[in-house]
Amino acid sequence: MADSSTDTPNVNPGDETNNTVDTKPGEYRELVWQGLWKNNPGLVQLLGLCPLLAVTTTFTNALGLGLATLFVLICSNATVSAIRQWVPKEVRIPIFVLIIAAFVTCVQLLMNAYAYGIYQSLGIFLPLIVTNCAIIGRAEAYASKNPIKQASFDGLMMGIGFALVLLVLGSVRELLGQGTLFDGAHLLLGDWAKGLTIQVVEFDSQFLLAILPPGAFIAMGFLIAAKNAIDNRQAQKLAKSSKPKEIERVRVNFEG
């Protein structure tokens, strides 16, 4: 939650160019790319770290919070986009917060009614989705300037991007901490999922560091490092392959 004040301004500078109303075929692809990789809310924008780090002790918890956040993000983006003409600039933030809080409360009530087990294991972090700056960040930076379709799609992609980071962190920590995968999946998916639990390795005692918050920070650091490493390699490849062309062009210019 401490990230709410410091992180909101750095939302997605690339979006300023995106606020045209007409739909270009490349726009959706760009949204996918931005949400899942280039501007991933978990790995790049580093928004919503509090629930991200606290809840990812198991795959199931991560999935529950990921789905809840995804749902809220789509709904809030669509609503914010739908009402963007009627909202004066001065009161837009309180209105966005109201909308987000309303959706989060709805999700909480629905989960309480239909997924009680996961509702209990998510605990306080379910209502705390309100404070996830990824959501208000998207509302402010994208949804308030774009039509409903694109805004909802952006919500979907950003939500999936966030959920994927949650799932990777959850799996890694569950695997290192308890040696299992999909433990407690029946809490979310119903009784048929009881057989899903896989005991990958058997530990005599749990690997505490992976379960406790420091483990989350460390795993998160490795994830970010891995993403940066892939990006760097990609950039190097691109630089290499484009170098000969440049030289050629230069040579042509000289000779010409």
């Binding site: 004066p88 209105i95 909308i99 309303a102 709805c106 009614a113």
Partner: protein
């Protein structure tokens, strides 16, 4: 300026109203399911500590509130559920609090047979250290099952402690405070039942009122 403030306030109020309406609708729509979920959850736990084949009354309704700060660990009223077979009491399940956990209160459900022996114990809620103190959960270890069928000979029964203190219950590696707190709370709850047995078993009014 004043005009702008007025219209902004109006818009804000309209949105507040709309959002409240949405939440109220969902709340109304899910209220019944949520209540049923909570009841089901409680019943599941009750069935774990008192085998459902042993009683045939509506145990969810057969409840009463009791308060005993010293023995039940909290100033808040705790709930007692009485299991009866053909109107004869077989066992009671008492919620109680272990106030001296490593990290705050540990809420327990302690089921005691009519003869004073333990039927079962479950931890309802706790904030003990993951990986150390949380072995009191059935999901993490089978420690809490060891209470089953245990008896207490007197208030001074020295076996009712963790092994480190000369008792009969294991502590965990790296966590003694948690099991110590649980053992003490279970012992106190048994003493409470011993002291108030007649009152509890003769109580016939439901804490949920006439119609539930």
């Amino acid at each position: 300026m004043k005009q702008a403030m007025k219209s902004n306030a109006m818009i804000l109020a309209i949105f507040a109203l709309g959002c409240t309406l949405l939440v109220a609708l969902v709340d109304m729509f899910t209220a019944e399911t949520r209540a049923r979920q909570a009841e089901q959850q409680l019943l599941n736990t009750l069935y774990q500590v008192i085998n459902p084949s042993r009683f045939n009354n509506d145990i969810y309704m057969a409840c009463q509130y009791v308060t005993d700060k010293d023995l039940l660990g909290s100033e808040q009223p705790q709930t007692v559920y009485t299991a009866r077979q053909d109107n004869l009491p077989v066992a009671v399940a008492i919620t109680s609090v272990a106030p001296d956990g490593y990290n705050g209160n540990i809420e327990l459900l302690v089921a005691i047979n009519k003869d004073g022996s333990l039927s079962g114990v479950r931890v309802l809620e706790h904030q003990e250290t993951p990986g150390l103190g949380d072995k009191i959960e059935t999901r993490k270890s089978d420690w809490v099952y060891r209470f089953e069928n245990k008896q207490m000979t007197s208030d001074k029964d020295s076996r009712w402690a963790v092994k480190k203190d000369g008792g009969m219950f294991d502590q965990f590696t790296g966590a003694t405070i948690t099991p110590r707190a649980v053992v003490k709370a279970v012992k106190n709850t048994m003493m409470f039942f011993d002291k108030n047995q007649a009152d509890i078993l003769n109580h016939n009014q439901s804490c949920r009122g006439e119609n539930g």
